[in-house]
Assembly symmetry: C2
């Protein structure tokens, strides 16, 4: 949970599993989240070896993040969670309706 539990980590892994991406692409993809926050999640994923950072020594700077084999080994779990969430969402919606009532 420490490795994949961050608020955006599973989403980032999910995106990178489809192909390597530059930071700016990821920032555009998560438009409702500040770049800073995504960078933090990327850094932790990198420290844990779930993703890899490649720096192309060019100007302007060019960086790419790609998923590693260890990161890819989390994808089946992420998909299971996704499917479970999809199937449970209707019930969850009803639960939230009961709880939040106006408030």
């Amino acid at each position: 949970m420490e490795v994949m539990g961050g608020k955006w980590k599973s989403c980032i892994l999910y995106e990178l599993e489809k192909g390597s991406k530059r930071p700016s692409e990821l920032h555009r993809h998560f438009e409702n989240t500040s770049p800073r926050v995504i960078n933090q999640q990327l850094k932790e994923l990198e420290i844990h070896g779930m993703i890899e950072k490649t720096i192309f020594p060019e100007l302007p700077p060019h960086v790419e993040y790609s998923i590693t084999d260890d990161g890819r080994s989390l994808i089946p779990i992420i998909r299971m969670l996704e499917q479970w969430g999809d199937s449970f969402r209707p019930k969850m919606t009803r639960i939230l309706e009961k709880t939040e009532t106006t408030e």
Copy 2:
């Protein structure tokens, strides 16, 4: 993640999947965690319909928590996470050694 991501939730589901238990049994099982915290997690799991609470109208009070079908549907995911964690733990240990260095 909101449903099963709590610090003790997957552990509680794991225990209840083995059989219904009384709150005091669970408190004894998680001896390093205060009963209050376990109660909070139980309450949330109950609200989300992952566990069920049965009150026996006796004195002294007798309560039992049991896992529901929805809760049971999370068990395969919890097991996958457990297996992934077991297999990744050696690498994780090395990563933590590098990071924490004395500090």
